[in-house]
Each structure stands twice: as C-alpha cells, then as structure tokens.
C-alpha cells in the first residue's frame, strides 16, 4: 500500500473529530499498519489527552517544522499498541507558527515513515484547517445529525473538493437510533441526501465514549461497546474492506418486549 495521509475534519467544533482520529489511529495500528496520529490543532492540543499520551510529550509539531528536532524524536510511541505514534501539537504557540509550506514538507516526511497518517484538524475554515488539510490525500468529514453540524460539514466538503482531496468520506457521529425511530433526529439517509458524499461509518451515541476519554483509553483498544465496534469498522473500510453497517438498535429495543417498551415509550 502506498503511504496515505487522511485529514479528519468537520468545520464545527465538538462533533468528535479528535475522538474519531484517536479511535481510528488505534484501530489502524492494531491492524498492523504503522500509523501516525498528528494533532493539527496548534495551540489547542487535545489528541494527546484523548489518546492518553499527554505525560510522554517532549517535543511537538512546531519543533519539527522549525527544525528544532527530528520527526522521529518528536513522535510519541504508544506502549499499549505496536505501530502507533502521536505527533502532538504545540500548546504554547498559535496557528500562525506553522506555514502551509512547512506542513507540506512535514507530510512528505510522514509519508516516508508511516503507512497511514491521520491529521486531526482544528475546527473552523481558516488557516489552521487549511494547514491540516493541505498535505493530506484524503479526508474524513465528521458530523453529527444536527442542523448546525451538517451545515458546517457541507461548507467544509466544498473546501475539501476545491483542494482536490479524494476520497472525501463521511463519519456520522453520535447517532441516537431511538430518536431517529421516533422521528426526532435526522437519519443517515437524510444526511447523505443533503451532503451527497460517500459514507464511511455511523457511530452511535454511547456513554462509553465519554468514559474512554476520561481515562485516555480509546475504545478501539479493546472495548466491547457498539461505538468501539463502529469505529473499528470505519478503520476496516479505510483499509478497503467491505463491512456492512452495524445494526445500531440497542438490544433492549429488539424482540417482543423491546417492541412493547418502545410502544409505551419506556
């Protein structure tokens, strides 16, 4: 496989870019691919805490692009999973600390050293996003089934298209199947109709995500939850496998008693 660089982005903040990046990075590394998780959010770094690697950071992305240290030296190796490395963002610098040219050069170097690189983009459509996306070949757009998030996703998709990223694929995060059923949440199909891009996965809204972030242990490390399974499936699809979408209905909504419970709204 040729080395691949994928930017994970969304436009809107708080829809789960970093969680998605962390979980996919772990799953891809577990699948045997040498994986770099790059925090592209200079000044507001978060990927380190979501991955649980915040205590092991010495150097960061800005140090690398400024030539203060070698890429290998700045990459934090994850001891729980073989093949997984984090390039943290600088916390005490701003987005202006990195130029587009520097990012392109960094991406070339990442290509030489890793099978797959995931770049966690900052929210927004400004330079920070552009820097995160500029060196990537492909894009994963994360959105939630909310009007504001889908609207921003549309804007970002337009920008990614004009930057010739391909493929651009969608992760629909935090879907609540019960709400979809009752007609109070936009469905997968609605979102795809509106955004007209390829779907790469649907992640159910799951309390296990919050718990895993609390602990700094991405779900794909070994959690049994539905969300963990959904993230693993996205990773498999990235690797070209054909994996059917999960049945997201909670088990307690299946069968006769499930039907009764739903009918009574319990």
């Amino acid at each position: 496989m040729d080395p691949r660089i994928i930017v994970v982005t969304s436009g809107k903040g708080g829809v789960g870019k970093t969680t998605t990046t962390a979980n996919l990075a772990v799953a891809l590394a577990k699948a045997g691919y040498k994986t770099a998780a790059v925090d592209g959010d200079i000044g507001l770094r978060n990927l380190d805490v979501v991955l649980g690697l915040e205590n092991r950071i010495v150097f960061n992305l800005v140090d690398v692009v400024e030539g203060a240290c070698k890429l290998q030296k700045a990459m934090v190796r994850d001891k729980r999973v073989e093949n997984l490395f984090l390039l943290p963002a600088a916390q005490t610098r701003t987005k202006d600390a990195v130029s587009a040219d520097q990012m392109l050069k960094l991406c070339d170097e990442l290509r030489e050293n890793f099978d797959i690189t995931l770049i966690d983009s900052p929210a927004g459509i400004e330079q920070g996003f552009r820097n995160a996306a500029i060196g990537a070949d492909e894009a994963i757009v994360v959105t939630t089934p909310e009007v504001s998030a889908v609207r921003d996703a549309d804007r970002i998709i337009g920008m990614l298209e004009s930057m010739s990223k391909s493929p651009i694929r969608l992760v629909l995060n935090r879907l609540r199947p019960a709400m979809v059923k009752s007609g109070d949440m936009i469905d997968v199909k609605d979102v795809l109709d509106i955004l007209a891009i390829e779907l790469i996965g649907v992640i159910p809204d799951d309390t296990s995500v919050v718990i895993s972030t609390n602990k700094g242990e991405p779900l794909t490390l070994g959690d049994e939850s539905l969300a963990a399974k959904a993230f693993s499936n996205v990773a498999r699809r990235i690797l070209g496998e054909e994996v059917p979408l999960l049945d997201l209905d909670a088990p307690d909504q299946k069968g006769f008693f499930g039907f009764l419970r739903k009918a009574l709204g319990l």
Partner: protein, 95 residues
C-alpha cells in the same frame, strides 16, 4: 419520553426530523449559492425592473427561489404575466 408525549407526536403533523431536514436544505441552497437574503431581494427588484419593460407582470405573485440537485443549484422564477406590452410602445420610447 412519556406515553402522552408520544401520542401527541403521532397526531401532530410533522416530526422535528422533517423540519430539520427542510431547514437544512433551504439554508444550504443559499450557502452553496453564496447569496444573502438581501442580495436575493435586490435580484428580485432588478428582475422586475427589466421584465416590466417588456411585460406587464403581477409583481406580488412572483415566486423566486433556488432548486437544488446534488451540488448544483438552479434559480427558478415563476412570474405571472398580466399582458404583453405592444411592440410599438417599446419602440416609441426614446433610445
């Protein structure tokens, strides 16, 4: 959600999901065309001005909006015509 709320929702006309979808589609048409409501109003006024030179139209019944397919957007105008002005009328106007 309690039973009554559910029942009420079943009878009520539109689920919030449908409202969300419609609102999104509309807002995205404008986003994608990059046209503000103000610009839309100006466009409407200018269109009326130009068309009125040739046709007698019912201004208040004009429908002007975007329709979308995938990522492309079309401007659709429905302009009821009251009468067609006589050609001589137009020619008689000073150049």
């Amino acid at each position: 959600m309690n039973f009554l709320a559910r029942l009420f929702q079943m009878i009520s006309k539109e689920k919030s999901k449908e409202t969300a979808k419609k609102r999104l589609q509309l807002v995205l048409i404008h986003d994608r065309a990059d046209i503000s409501p103000e610009m839309m109003e100006n466009l409407r006024r200018d269109l009326i001005g130009v068309i009125s030179n040739y046709l007698d139209i019912e201004e208040e019944k004009i429908e002007l909006d975007f329709s979308k397919e995938e990522r492309s957007v079309a401007l659709v105008a429905n302009i009821p015509v009251k009468s067609v002005k006589r050609r001589t009328e137009r020619r008689a106007e000073p150049a």
